[in-house]
Amino acid sequence: MEILRSQKKISAQAAIPTLPVYRSAPSLEVRLEDFELFAIDRLRVLTGISNGLSRGKKPDEMEKLGNDLWKANMRHHDSSRMLDKDIISHFVLRLVYCRNEELRKWFLTHETKLFEYRFRVESVESQKALMAEIGFPYTAVGIGELEDMRENLNQVARSIGRQMLTSDALFFKVPFEEVPELISGRKVYIHKGFAYVAMNQAVNIVTGMFRSNLSKGLVLTNRKWTTTLKEQEKDRLTPIVEALSTSYLGPDYSQPKEYAEISIKDIDKVASSSFPLCMRHLFEKLREDHHLKHGGRMQLGLFLKGVGLNLDDALAFWKAEFSQKVGSERFDKEYAYSIRHNYGKEGKRIDYTPYSCQKIISSTPGAGDQHGCPYRNFSKENLEAALSKMGVSSRLMGDVMDKVKNRHYQLACTLTFEAVHASSCDSGINHPNQYFIDSQKILQAKVTNSTTVKNETT
């Protein structure tokens, strides 16, 4: 750590990072309206990041998006107060998002992303200063050891499309447990339990430390909120805090609202008219093989729950298929549990929410799996065949495949929606259940239109 420490001394004069690490709540006086306005501005940044991620934007696009959003929303007319606004808004949102597991997770994820994007655009000097401030504990690899490793480090650099090592390259030797993101993509050289992390990859560790500090902070905030603040601030802050979290989390698809119930007999019809490709594929595979592996059961099962299949119908539906393959006795014993589990009737009794596109796209189906996003996982030929079966004309097929090629899977799905329904979808597809609901809206409108036309003619 010697290197860092000495560098911190220099950088203390040279570069003061504009990025706080939010160690403790500020002892500032805040006007009540600033309290809310600052928080809303920060939320705009975080929801913007969330939307970008769910659209499958690439890391470099996300970095730009994050910093653009920051500039657009977090400026303050008094430049000396920018840092205050940053810190105040952060701690207000801690209050807002500390109150349950789901809120904490959402905030933690997006606040960490924001920190990462902002960290990446800092100068190397101020990055080093931030690393010291956050307590980055690893030493740089010495010249001799680096020389021994050079060939392997270069090989890794080539494998991830990076440039070869320069002579002043800085690497940190880190227990592999600290850098799971780098391990999972084989993005680092690891030897005997240590990962050799390049300076530009160290951001993963820094953000990891940021995240774990914030995670602990949120739990503490929650404790304080539930024990004292909530009651103390009953008339002042509590209403603001509660309103802030609900208005910005996006719709919850776990409870079907608009089309309350779908019965088993209608399911084939709506599957062919209104299921997105990922669900059609699972549905058809289930009908064909009378079996789906765990990932497929989860993805389709929760979707169907969101569509409005109640627990009894869901059990009947899955049983009808599975019993043909494994027998009804084994179904009752081994599979019924997890369906009841999905509906919150077993285990931790959490009512699980249907998977979003983001979650589905990021899943990694293995051998024999059918779940995941077909736009991402299917070969070109299979995808084209599946799309034409859905009714995408060859004229529009090219547009869809173009999006796929550029890895814009949700846009590809949106174009498919538009092609199949001959209707535009301005909001874009972010969730399979949204696809379903939007599709049903259009189809039902068509039905009422045609009946009114009929009525008029008769």
Binding site: N152, E181, H294, S338, H341, K348, K380
Partner: protein, 455 residues
């Protein structure tokens, strides 16, 4: 990723689903598996003491640093002969475990995680996080049925000497990466009793991994991502990662070229070679090769050289003389697709996932799930492992020679060889557990001393 994500994982379907298929248990082949013989096995042969020693990790002695609750917080689960499934069994000591197994005679014993509290009493602890998995070995499950698209000798649950080498090289690749890359040393390989292998990494560092870290390691080995909907089966990146270079040069390529290619006749018939041609993205090359191979089938089958090898060399020279960089990589892609270990990812990713205990007996085959020594895994023959009936015979014979009533000593059955493999794994493991305990105890002592001084 941090703690709070781990809590969020689900606890259903934690059983190895594929191993389950093929039950119902009562319909198993009688000549291979007889519940009475299982009972005899549990009474006379099951190595309770060794399993207990293993699962205690040194916490079974009088050392002041011992955590005597450790073994008792481990989840075991049983599947009984009538298909009743008992989860969250726990035992305070070896004798309790032995008695429970003997009296219940489970057809399958699974080992789960060490929990924060005794899993049998989990309902007594209120609160969200009171009952959570805190430690488990890092485990891997490799199953031959995931290789059905690259073996033509068998499919599904069947195995033979022609396809088993796929498991052998999976062991070699994984074992060397776990040691060289991750620095693990206490690694136990176990035959799953029918068509696959299990791996238990038992280093303290491995046992303490959280779910995110386990998932990262699983992904590190997740090279083969094929399924029927995708053409490209492996994603190797712009150049091979050093770990993959090692696997490729030391294990995969020699195995593919010297064994698998001819053993499975991968290029002999049109149906088979089309599967490989499909992986080449350049149609002019595939058309050329296809034309040659369809045309000269008769002629080259007369020559002495194996047709698969001739065709493979041809394919390689076409691809490697190509100017496109992607084409040269294609040879590697084919080899990796056909040979790189295919893991059941779910088993590795979650701390609380259950895995069948070593020395169980597979209820379909009657074979004992014996440890495999990775040093000489190519000598391991799954068809020759001890079975319930073979062990019974050996015991009966021993009885005749030693006389009724005398307690049989070791050196009595073919299981002893497997026990030796297990004990050779246990000894260094327990030694390092002891050392670690000593170090942490001394550190604590030192700390309390220095703090008492300042006080």
């Amino acid at each position: 990723m941090t703690k709070e994500e781990i809590e969020n994982d689900r606890d259903d379907m934690m059983i190895d689903e594929k191993e389950q298929q093929g039950f119902p248990l009562m319909q198993c082949a009688q000549e291979e598996f007889d519940p009475d013989q299982l009972n005899m096995y549990y009474v006379k042969l099951f190595p309770y003491a060794d399993i207990y020693k293993w699962m205690s990790y040194g916490n079974d002695r009088k050392h002041p640093a011992c955590d005597l609750s450790y073994f008792g917080r481990r989840e075991f689960s049983f599947i009984l002969g009538n298909d009743v499934y008992l989860r969250y069994q726990s035992f305070n000591n070896a004798a309790q475990m032995e008695n429970s197994i003997k009296s219940k005679c489970p057809f399958k014993i699974d080992i789960g995680a060490v929990y924060s509290v005794d899993p049998a009493k989990r309902n007594a602890y209120a609160g969200e996080n009171a009952f959570t998995p805190v430690e488990k070995e890092l485990v891997f499950d490799i199953d031959m049925s995931d290789y059905d698209d690259v073996r033509y000798c068998c499919s599904g649950a069947n195995i033979c000497n022609k396809c088993w080498p796929l498991m052998t090289i999976a062991i070699k690749v994984m074992d060397s990466a776990l040691r060289e890359d991750f620095g693990f040393t206490h690694i136990l390989w176990v035959y799953s009793g029918r068509r696959g292998v299990h791996c238990w990494v038992c280093d303290a560092r491995a046992r303490r991994l959280n779910n995110a870290q386990r998932a990262a390691i699983a992904d590190y080995f997740h090279v083969y991502k094929g399924n029927e909907n995708s053409r490209k089966k492996v994603f190797l990146g712009a150049a091979l990662h050093p770990s993959l270079v090692r696997s490729y040069q030391q294990v995969l390529r020699p195995f593919f070229e010297e064994e698998l290619l001819c053993g499975q006749s991968l290029l002999e018939t049109e149906e088979k070679f089309e599967k490989i041609l499909e992986m080449i993205p350049d149609e002019s090359i595939t058309a050329k090769l296809r034309g040659e191979w369809l045309g000269n089938h008769q002629r080259s089958s007369n020559s002495k050289e194996d047709i698969n090898r001739v065709r493979w060399e041809k394919l390689k020279s076409h691809l490697q003389s190509g100017k496109q960089k992607g084409l040269r990589r294609c040879v590697e892609e084919i080899v990796f697709s056909y040979t790189y270990p295919r893991l059941d990812m779910g088993v590795t990713k979650l701390t609380n996932h259950l895995l069948k205990a070593p020395f169980c007996v597979h209820p379909k085959t009657g074979r004992v799930c014996v440890p495999i020594d990775p040093e000489c895994c190519e000598k391991f023959d799954p068809m020759a492992v001890p079975t319930l009936s073979s062990l019974k015979k050996e015991l009966d014979k021993g009885k005749l020679e030693n006389g009724e009533g005398k307690k049989l000593e070791t050196g009595r059955t073919s299981l002893d060889k497997s026990l030796k493999v297990f004990r050779d794994f246990l000894e260094p493991l327990l030694k390092s557990c002891k050392e670690e305990m000593e170090i942490s105890y001394n550190a604590k002592l030192q700390q309390s001393k220095s703090s008492s001084l300042t006080w």
